[in-house]
């Protein structure tokens, strides 16, 4: 892959980077999207991200059993399982979507996580758009 992969990162506002300025975090990725809860992500949002040209998605959700809305993070884990089946049927590798269940109020680890995911996407190569 010649160009840097396009990674869209959704981060939960309750667990990730809420003690730092969002502008500072945005330097980590051109496509950092803070959300109220990872459980607010609908499957269609993630499908549209791929359809619109992204190479991968990273979801930063709260730790297990520590969701501000009780089980939004767990719901997203379940949703991702089926979503990955759909992606795979379209020739998109399951590893292009990852979820991290953790906590980082200052968001220090976010740039590193994004860089690591981009590295994995580089290794996977360009997204196969034959069936899209």
């Amino acid at each position: 892959m010649d160009d840097e992969p396009k990674l869209v990162c959704f981060s939960c506002k309750f667990g990730w980077g809420y003690l730092t300025k969002q502008e500072g975090l945005k330097d980590a990725s051109d496509f950092l999207m803070p959300v109220e809860c990872s459980g607010k992500l609908d499957a269609i949002h993630l499908l549209k991200v791929f359809k619109e040209g992204a190479d991968g998605i990273l979801i930063l959700a709260c730790e297990e059993e520590h969701c501000h809305f009780q089980e939004g993070n767990f719901r997203t884990v379940k949703m991702l399982y089926l979503l990955k089946e759909v992606l795979q049927a379209h020739g998109i590798e399951k590893d292009r979507v990852r979820i991290a269940l953790s906590l980082d109020p200052e968001g220090r680890s976010i740039p590193g996580r994004i860089a690591q995911m981009k590295k994995s996407l580089m290794a996977l190569g360009p997204l196969n758009r034959t069936l899209l």
Partner: protein, 330 residues
């Protein structure tokens, strides 16, 4: 006596089930035949496409078109119908959403041709010959329609005025649609001539749905269990597309103890019923935060087939349009 309005009934990539549904109007068909003049109906009568081409622009009052669009003949006939018909009604799940044949979009065209014409166990084709668009034969050229890369819903190829979904559409909806056209009592263009509610709202089993619907344990398929004929399928752990599907079908599957497969397509406002169902299923599945969701999810055999059985060509990932120059545009 005023001239009867002209009607064209035509199939593209279709099984004939939608035409059968028109025949199932029974005595109602006599009313229709009395009120209109059927100018084209390849399945039931002997008409040629030349007859269709001989009509003037918008001369036919309404065209009922069933089937998906997969080859160049479908495109040619669909465009000819669009030109000759004042109104086009997409009839059935294939015309409205691409239908079951749309699942073929998950397999590249070359692989389909290779399987069907070379690798299928019943095929002997050592030279690996594939159908050609043009074949010279005894000084002449034989023509076959071109098999395109993608299965399209009708409105991805031509403008469609109204939709009557279903596999097959219930005769009552067809009858109502024709009556509405004849009485010029139609909703805004682009509307689906079916109720706007979700199937669950009219399902006879809805009263057995628990206040807080939850699915525990593995997902079961209808042939694996003896389903109670009156209980909500989802409450029994059997996948049913009812929550994400438009009603209007008369709940025929439900009444024969078969869960909804989604042939009426999404409810109004929903773009991608498959992804909507993924999100709702994720909420319904109760495996406990310490449980193993993957094991439960893995019990769903062929999730993509379940989710997009009738709607893949109009789904977020599968959607494409065919331009005037026969180019695919995502």
């Amino acid at each position: 006596m005023a001239k009867k309005p002209k009607v064209a009934i035509c199939w593209l990539g279709a099984c004939g089930g939608c035409d059968e549904a028109i025949v199932d109007l029974n005595e109602g068909l006599l009313d229709v035949a009395e009120a209109v003049s059927i100018e084209l109906w390849p399945v039931a009568m002997d008409f040629k496409y030349d007859h269709l081409a001989a009509f003037g622009k918008d001369e036919i009052a309404v065209g009922l078109v069933s089937g998906h669009v997969r080859n160049s003949e479908h495109v040619e006939v669909a465009r000819l119908l669009r030109e000759r018909c004042k109104l086009i009604i997409g009839l059935g799940a294939c015309a409205c959403f691409g239908g079951t044949p749309g699942m073929a979009n998950l397999v590249p065209r070359e692989e389909i041709l290779d399987t069907v014409y070379v690798k299928a166990p019943s095929v002997v084709n050592p030279e690996g010959r594939l159908p050609q668009v043009e074949t010279p034969w005894e000084g002449e050229t034989l023509h076959l329609p071109e098999f395109m890369n993608h299965v399209y819903a009708l409105n991805q190829v031509i403008e469609v005025d109204y939709f009557i979904p279903g596999c097959s559409p219930p005769p009552e909806l067809i009858h109502n649609g024709i009556r509405a056209v004849l009485a010029d009592d139609l909703p805004p263009k682009g509307s689906t001539l079916a109720p706007r509610k979700a199937l669950c709202e009219t399902c006879p089993r809805n009263k057995t749905k628990p206040m807080r619907l939850e699915i525990h344990g593995p997902i079961r398929r209808i042939h694996e269990v003896e389903a109670d004929p009156e209980t909500c399928f989802l409450a029994e752990g059997i996948l049913c597309m009812g929550p994400a599907t438009r009603t209007g079908c008369g709940e025929t599957c439900i009444r024969t103890n078969i869960p909804c497969r989604g042939c009426f397509g999404p409810t109004p406002g929903v773009v991608d019923p498959g992804s909507r169902f993924i999100s709702s299923l994720a909420a319904l599945l109760k495996v406990g935060t310490t449980g193993n969701p993957e094991a439960v999810m893995a019990s769903i055999g062929d999730p993509v087939g379940y989710l997009y059985r009738f709607t893949h060509p109009v789904s977020t990932l599968g959607e494409k349009r065919l331009s005037e120059t026969m180019e695919e545009t995502p």
